[in-house]
């Protein structure tokens, strides 16, 4: 049935190939549920990772999980291929407890820069040769590493409010020029939340950009590690990407946990999930469009209000379905909480009405936004992100697809009901702000197509086969030391979750791979040498959500 969903995949790298490639650098095997795992020495990291990338085509460093065991620290590099994300390999790097030093992968993958800073910040592993070994989420003056085993949460902490010194002045590179240091945020309307961008300007040109995140670091990983699999974790994903992308995030957890506990989800529930998730994607992209126009046009009026008008409609539908406007908490492991609301016909008709009106609305947006000459002047050829750079920074979602990287987990690593439906992955080769916006708008249309097909299926589904939940035990205790890393296509890109079980009903380690975090790390590359209004436009076109950046 699917038409545009077949893609040519590269030749599979088998485990034998990997073993041959790594040779005796692989000390042992440590397989995860999703991928073969190889244990290597801490000083072989760059070597192994660059071999995997150049020889075997693993060009996507999807995630880095750091964790502490009783007897060791461990960094796990989850590698994938952009051309085929079902081919995965995990590189496990153990270090001793007394001296947790591991070689940095930042020279090989630029995305490792922020990964390793986070791992240092939260777990406390030092990465040798890291270009910028600072804390990233917690304040510079923080004491201890909160996700390490011996952290005492009761200890007092100091946080400074000091003016940030001009980072260019001390090393006197620019003694002659008159650059200016500018703090944008953390409280600024253009930062979409509480982001702080340290900017160095030469006149109106951006010389250096350093995004300073962590103003919304709400300890999501700790919260999830304290919750039980069955019910206590599911409310938290709603709050990572809180721009109505709740169901997409819940699916990330559901997918990882269902793989971990080996739960089969009924087909009917998968269709409801797919429909709900795509409704969320529409709501999320509408907000992205509205706020982007707010950034570029600088007013709180027409386009912004139009986008919110349409979001209200989607939120109404989602409220009918889930009972909540924003924090849905609708998925359960093994299915969804309840069936479509009664009367069913009314809900289906309401959703269809929305879908029927959508093309006219999209035309309206095209009239007002994308075909507007002023808008085009602002967006075309600004914030350019080349595909190779995007891959290097681990960009995913509309940001990568706007740079021509044909990568969508819904198609490439199928889950839910996507592989049975007829829809297309949108890519655009423009690499600029304009193509990212265009990508999102066209994705809205694709989502509408998916919802339409789901509604058809739901409408005709025989009444006695509407199974919304699999039979899942009340308490889930996956086998100890089972590890899984699973990703779904969130509204912003690849949202991955790593879970290690420790034999109890709570995860031993819960790591979130946030798409926004990595998309944001590319901001400096996109904006250097551009004008400051283009910096604001680029930031808007990345469509970050600070709840997901900081977690």
């Amino acid at each position: 049935m699917s038409s545009g969903l077949e893609r040519t995949r590269p030749v599979e790298t088998t485990e034998d190939d990997l073993e041959a490639l790594l040779g005796d650098r692989a000390l042992a095997r440590d397989d995860h549920l999703n991928a073969p795992g190889f244990v290597i020495r801490p000083d072989d990291v760059q070597d192994v990772l660059s071999d995997l990338r150049d020889e075997a085509g693993f060009d996507h460093l999807s995630c880095l999980t750091a964790q502490q065991y009783e007897d060791r620290y461990e960094s796990i590099y989850h590698m994938k291929k952009y051309a085929d994300p079902t081919q995965e390999v995990s590189i496990v790097v153990p270090t001793t407890t007394d001296d947790p030093v591991s070689e940095s992968a930042a020279p090989v993958f630029r995305t490792a820069d922020w990964h390793e800073r986070e791992a240092f910040d939260l777990v406390g592993i030092d990465y040798e040769g890291h270009p910028d070994p600072r804390r990233i989420l917690l304040p510079e003056t923080w004491q201890g590493h909160p996700l390490s085993l011996d952290y005492d949460q009761e200890k007092p902490q100091l946080v400074t409010l000091s003016e940030h010194a001009n980072p260019i002045q001390p090393d006197h590179h620019d003694a002659e020029s008159d650059t200016m240091f500018l703090n944008i945020g953390p409280h600024h309307p253009a930062t979409h939340g509480v982001l702080h961008v340290k900017t160095v300007l030469d006149g109106e040109t951006v010389v250096d950009v350093d995004p300073d995140v962590g103003y919304l670091h709400r300890c999501e990983e700790q919260m999830c590690q304290q919750g039980t699999y069955r019910h206590q974790i599911m409310p938290y994903p709603d709050r990572w990407d809180y721009v109505s992308a709740g169901l997409l995030n819940e699916w990330a957890y559901a997918r990882a946990a269902e793989d971990l506990a080996d739960i089969e989800v009924p087909e009917y529930a998968q269709i409801i999930r797919t429909m709900g998730a795509e409704l969320c994607r529409i709501a999320s992209h509408m907000l992205a469009l509205g706020t982007f126009c707010l950034d570029v046009y600088g007013d709180f009026t027409a386009v912004f209000q139009y986008a919110f008008r349409d979001r209200e409609v989607v939120q109404d539908i989602l409220e009918d379905l889930t009972g909540q406007r924003l924090m849905f908490n609708y998925f359960r492991l093994g299915g969804v909480a309840w069936d479509l609301p009664e009367p069913r016909e009314e809900f289906i008709a309401k959703t269809r009405d929305f879908l029927d009106e959508l093309p006219a609305k999209v035309d309206e947006y095209n009239d007002m936004v994308t075909s507007n000459e002023i808008f085009q002047v602002r967006c075309i050829d600004t914030g350019v992100l080349e595909p190779e750079v995007a891959k290097d920074y681990g960009c995913t979602g509309p940001v990568a697809r706007g740079s021509g990287v044909d990568y969508d987990i819904r198609r490439d690593d199928p889950y839910g009901y996507y592989s049975e439906l007829d829809w297309d992955v949108i890519t655009d080769d423009g690499c600029d702000n304009y193509s990212r916006v265009l990508c999102r708008m066209r994705e809205v249309e694709e989502s509408a197509k998916i919802i339409e097909q789901c509604l058809d299926l739901l409408e005709d589904w025989p009444e006695d086969e509407r199974e919304i939940q699999a039979n899942v035990p009340r308490t889930l205790k996956p086998d100890a030391d089972t590890e899984v890393y699973r990703a779904v296509e969130g509204a912003k890109g690849e949202l991955g979750i790593y879970i290690r079980s420790d034999g109890t009903d709570k995860p031993g380690r819960f790591k979130i791979r946030s798409p926004c975090y990595h998309n944001l790390s590319a901001l400096g590359e996109m904006t250097q040498g551009e004008y400051i209004p283009d910096l604001i436009a680029s930031l808007g076109s990345l469509d970050i959500v600070l709840g997901e950046v900081d977690r």
């Binding site: 007092p156 400074t160 979409h192 939340g193 709180f300 209000q305």
Partner: protein, 235 residues
């Protein structure tokens, strides 16, 4: 009324056209502005009230909100400002980007350690009199993140809050209700409760020289403003 219908003054008489004005003024006292306020005054244009009362009434009816997005609740806050809910109908819908132009701050989200000092600074920059609406569970107690190592257990640890709107997140209707309640309080001249605020911005040099301060002495300047979180004493 378009240009193919010339105005009366052009084709009719050249005398000054006063009839519309006359009809608007009508008989008796001038009520061109037709406001409810004017009606309330009756036939006399004078009112007698306490100045304070008048000021409170004015303040309650013209609130300038600070455009301040923190976390999830800010999405619902934007929806409250945007069409359908339109907070502007209640005389409270002009979001100001600068704290120096605002007199009401809605705190829409979780306050974490790194943001605490910044929020305090933004609050301090607002001119008096200023009011705060705490939106959502996080500003009450830390909400679902209360046990987090980095989360301030409620915005009231740092700034005084006049109205708490519970919910995670509160619906726009709930926020509108909260704002309406705040207007009511302001009109009645009720002041915000005085609360114990354990977390203040202090100069680093003024802190008690305990273990933590000594450890950080080499990193932080004496004059730098710092906020000290005593997590063990937090609720």
């Amino acid at each position: 009324m378009s240009s193919d219908n010339p105005r009366q003054s052009i084709y009719d008489s050249t005398a000054p056209s006063t009839d519309t004005r006359d009809s608007r003024i009508g008989e008796g006292p001038d009520d061109r502005f037709n406001s409810k306020l004017r009606e309330a005054f009756g036939s006399t244009p004078f009112i007698l009230t306490k100045f304070d009362k008048f000021m409170n009434w004015v303040r309650g009816n013209s609130m300038f909100m600070l455009q301040f997005g923190i976390a999830c609740c800010s999405i619902e806050m934007i929806h409250t400002y945007a069409i359908k809910h339109d907070l502007d109908r209640f005389g409270a819908g002009v979001p100001r980007a600068s704290p120096r132009q605002a007199d009401v701050m809605i705190v829409p989200g979780t306050i974490v350690s790194k943001f605490g000092p910044r929020m305090k600074r933004v609050y301090d920059q607002m001119p008096e009199p200023k009011f705060v609406v705490g939106m959502g569970s996080c500003t009450i107690s830390g909400g679902p993140f209360q046990e987090g190592y980095n989360v301030v257990k409620g915005a009231e640890e740092i700034i005084p809050i006049d109205i708490h709107v519970p919910g995670c997140p509160p619906r726009p209707e709930a926020l509108v209700y909260g704002v309406a309640k705040l207007q009511e309080r302001i009109r009645n001249g009720e002041s915000s409760p005085v609360v114990v605020k354990p977390y203040e911005l202090e100069q680093f040099g003024d802190l008690e020289k305990d273990e933590l301060v000594q450890k950080l002495a080499s990193e932080i300047d004496e004059d730098d403003l710092v906020m000290r979180y005593n997590w063990a004493d937090s609720p």
